[in-house]
Amino acid sequence: MDATTAIYNERVSAGVPWYYVVKKGQSIRIIDLEGCQAVDTLFYNANNHEERYSASDTIREQGSIFITTGTKLLSSDDNVMLEVTHDTCGNHDTLGGHCSAESNTVRFGHDKKYMHSCRDNYLYAVGELEMSPRDLTNNINFFMNVPVEEDGHLAIVDGISHGGDYVQMKAHMDTLVLISNCPQLNNPCNGFNPTPIQILIWDN
């Protein structure tokens, strides 16, 4: 699609939260501008935030743990929220969740407590939106690579996205999109170097 016809076209800095309502029928594209960036993303029914993206329903109904072209993103109320229509990257994670100050202390050591995290971004955003912290749940990590082996071993390994890779979704309902452009510095989810993303939205 032509960027000049987009109704929204913004650069989102490394490490910050971003949110916007994508209307039913509109398409949203997230571009990993420099590659290897993890984009932690949650979705809500814009008219009823208690209906939200459900990672377990989404992966179970499609029979695969990865998000890619053709994936229908299902809600906790069993509805299709969005469908992935384009994906130049491949496998996007929805098992690993988002980083927090508290989980950083457990994963990497108590000295990491004061580092910036996705959870802080999310809590700040849901505070501003006057939503509840209980609205936060398991998210998608676009462009993050988390393979699972037969014995269950799971590792966050080097990203596979390159600069310019993108994922695009068409909204099946008015959807609040809530992103934390991940600031994690302690593992390779974003190549130890958080970078900006570009977001475009089109009317269809």
């Binding site: 377990s56 029979g63 209980r134 071993h153």
Partner: protein
């Protein structure tokens, strides 16, 4: 020898819902009374129910999508809610595939309404959880990705989710030690990927002040130990 003190002994009927406040240090034993046992669990810090089980942190922190004896169950605030202190099923635990709802139950088992079969009607996890959470003033936004006990979901070829055919045998049990004060909510309904006959087995529940079975040699990972340190700080 640990002196065993049982504080609760109950049976959760097949299809039933159940909840209990547990005190830090108590152990719950969940025993399959037949091979169709299948529990789904949600659990919360009872002193602050905004803090709850986080499946993503649990698998990520411990580097494994599968759970079993010696693993711990993390909240989203870096605390250990439960330790898995005993598991005779050898890992029949699933935290990837979520919970059933009425549509899925009808798809997998057909129609089984109250009008048709009275109290044996086909209940779903979602219905059970909403009813039970409602008793604590909680609701939809408190429902997160749950923990499923007595069934396992394999990840084949790196991505495909398949319900394992392995089942518990009668008498198999899993013990969870509460590492904080916990609100535990259980739904005794067939696994969300189960099909065929709707016939969930009864499950026996025992809560101990301390279990006589407690394995004092259990080795926890360094990540789990830092979780316990966070717990100690919380209760300081």
């Amino acid at each position: 020898m640990i002196e065993e003190t049982i504080v609760l002994n109950e049976v959760i009927m097949g299809g039933g819902k159940w909840s209990k406040l547990m005190k830090r240090g108590q152990t719950i034993r969940l025993s399959a009374l037949d091979n169709k046992a299948s529990l789904s669990a949600l659990f919360y810090n009872a002193d602050n129910t905004a803090e709850r089980y986080n499946s993503a942190d649990t698998v990520k922190i411990q580097w494994n999508a599968f759970l079993g004896k010696g693993k711990v169950l993390f909240s989203e605030l870096g605390h250990v809610l439960f330790s898995i202190t005993e598991d005779t099923t050898d890992g029949l635990i699933d935290t990837l595939s979520g919970m059933s709802n009425p549509r899925i139950v009808e798809k997998n088992f057909g129609s089984g309404s109250y009008e048709q079969i009275r109290n044996r009607y086909f209940k779903s996890d979602r219905e059970n959880f909403l009813v039970e959470l409602g008793k604590y003033g909680m609701g939809k936004h408190d429902i997160v990705q749950c923990l499923n006990l007595f069934r396992k979901v394999d990840v084949a070829e790196g991505s495909k989710l398949l319900l394992s055919e392995k089942r518990p045998v009668s008498g198999d049990y899993i013990e969870l030690r509460a590492e904080m004060n916990i609100l535990l909510v259980l739904s005794n309904t067939p696994h969300v990927m189960e099909k065929g006959e709707y016939a969930p087995s009864d499950v026996h529940v025992t809560i101990y002040e301390r279990s006589a079975n407690e394995d004092t040699t259990l080795q926890f990972s360094k990540e789990a130990k830092r979780g316990f340190e966070n717990n100690a700080r919380y209760f300081a």
